[in-house]
Symmetry: C2
Subunit: 350 residues, 2 copies
Amino acid sequence: MTAIRPPAVQPPTVRAPTIRDVADRAGVSIGTASNVLNRKPQVGAALRDKVLEAARELGWRPNGVARSLRQRRTGVVGLCVPLTGSAYFAAMVEAFEEVAASQGHAIMQVLSHSDPALELARVETLLARQIDGLVLVPSAMPAQTLDTIARSGVPTVVVDRLTDDQRFDTVTLDDAGAMRRVTEHLLSLGHRRILYCVRYPELVTTQARIRSFEATMREAGPAVQSRVLARPEDPLAYAHDLCSALAGPAHPTAIIASNSILAQWTLQALTRAGWHWPGDISVLAFDEPAWAELVTPPLTCVRQPVQAIARHAWQQLLARLAGESGPRRHVVLEAELVLRGSTAVPAAGS
Amino acid sequence: MTAIRPPAVQPPTVRAPTIRDVADRAGVSIGTASNVLNRKPQVGAALRDKVLEAARELGWRPNGVARSLRQRRTGVVGLCVPLTGSAYFAAMVEAFEEVAASQGHAIMQVLSHSDPALELARVETLLARQIDGLVLVPSAMPAQTLDTIARSGVPTVVVDRLTDDQRFDTVTLDDAGAMRRVTEHLLSLGHRRILYCVRYPELVTTQARIRSFEATMREAGPAVQSRVLARPEDPLAYAHDLCSALAGPAHPTAIIASNSILAQWTLQALTRAGWHWPGDISVLAFDEPAWAELVTPPLTCVRQPVQAIARHAWQQLLARLAGESGPRRHVVLEAELVLRGSTAVPAAGS
DNA sequence: TGGGCGCAATGAATCGTTTCATTTATGGTA
DNA sequence: TACCATAAATGAAACGATTCATTGCGCCCA
């Protein structure tokens, strides 16, 4: 019910020509002009040409707002993501842009900054603008947002972060499986003490990974130690936390970073502190940043199928927009572990 | 005049409550309901409460489309950029998002992929959707697009790439100045043969840089050689071109990359070919990619003031939206040369 | 007591389309 | 020639809000 209102803006001084102007100039009724301009069949060739000519001369352009009001749809799909700083979400937004534009839809993108309250507010503005559908990458506590969306009835696909909410279609990644493979890779290299660094431990995605991480480590035996470093504020605080985590003789011999931003922070911190990878410590990251192959040695990482996510989500959304009303669908995609030089057998002394 | 129409979408089956429903439930006229919900003063406390209560109960949300039609403004600003793959534009989009959302505007972003025809088409869809204003990073040949925008009368700020078009406000960078400083930096280190690598030589921005580059090199004396490597198709073709450019005894001793993507391609190509920087060759880039400090040694680059661009452009756009009609304004911002380890004195033998 | 003044509330017009029930024109057939 | 079917064109009613001229009402003061 929050009243969302755009700020003060002067209406344009010169008025664009309307369909009425076109009709007048062509000497036909508005209805006929509309029929011509919408390629409806029931209109004669002579009038058709006159109308098209008039529209061309006047430089008429359809008023999408009026059309949307009458047709009760806007051709706009909302996209709410936490941020675009991460390579992962940036790629996702671009993938959506692509597929949407190619089919005549427009994307209206908003950023939630991983803040539930902001997320709700942004989604409210999208709903007020009468979006036809919504793609949501939910924050950690999306309950209110999800309720609002469900109440609004706007077709929605929840992406990337699985919720236990059964009201929505979802497209997610097999986080547990990916983490199991990551952990087993490190274990097989001989690592016995592994540190998992995460930004937001409360995300469902993160929790699934942590559970999988700890379970896999437990299965490997009692001599194995898993640790989680959570919620760093900024690169500096993170560097500090990381250094304390790496202090002492029984320090971790491998680090898993939960996304490309943390990977960047990690490598920066290690470099500053004089650690070398993979000699002193192995490093592995979720997401595949653009620079994965640029650092030396290149970064082992979990490549998430961004394009496939966008494609599936879009397809599912289109089906709902077309009126499909079957049961909820839940697509789960597999990520790929890309082995590069930043993970290796731990040093002998460790 | 191109008719732009959204694709087939079923209108929603459950109709959202309208202001009429709210008015009926509160037992008042539509006008009164509207006055309450818009915080107009001329309404009594008793009715106000009844209306607000009714709106709350029904979960009423204003229909932005209807409002936009009546008020003849949408609160949406269009943003047309070449792509978001480059760190520079990604940051720019995010900066706009931020400042726009904080003031109740929404951003509708489209990608031109640096293609004039696509750019025109995308801008047409924005105009048809009745955007209040537009921020455009023009492609290399934007004449038709600019004509269309000028004819539409939509307030527009042209950003990043200066055109000789006097019809628009602009916010640009001092490309010539930045390039002069870059070139002088390399000259002062002792480099005498420098290669400038660009993606799109036809961009005005690029041309200004090339002119400045060549002029500065000429001033440095006849023994100095400047070369430009242009229009690489993809990373592989680029690697090939680069290797040929670096072949022979009198090869360049320094490379300037025109943006972060080319910088990435350059470092990848050099690594694959076994060149080391800055030992074998110095490398310097326009844009500051996230990984600038991660590569070893870190990358010297030209930091462009993205936030400042967004802020200035937005401020200028807001002024025009508010009805300001003074002469065109042209803001030129300075970039900053950030010295890091990837540029050094050329090797003795070179 | 009546006239004027102000505040509250109303109702209708409007924004620019699409859509649909009618009307008008056209041609063919009985 | 009368009739009907079909096609072409029209006019008006939506869509859901805002806005503004008008009305109704209570109060104060002369």
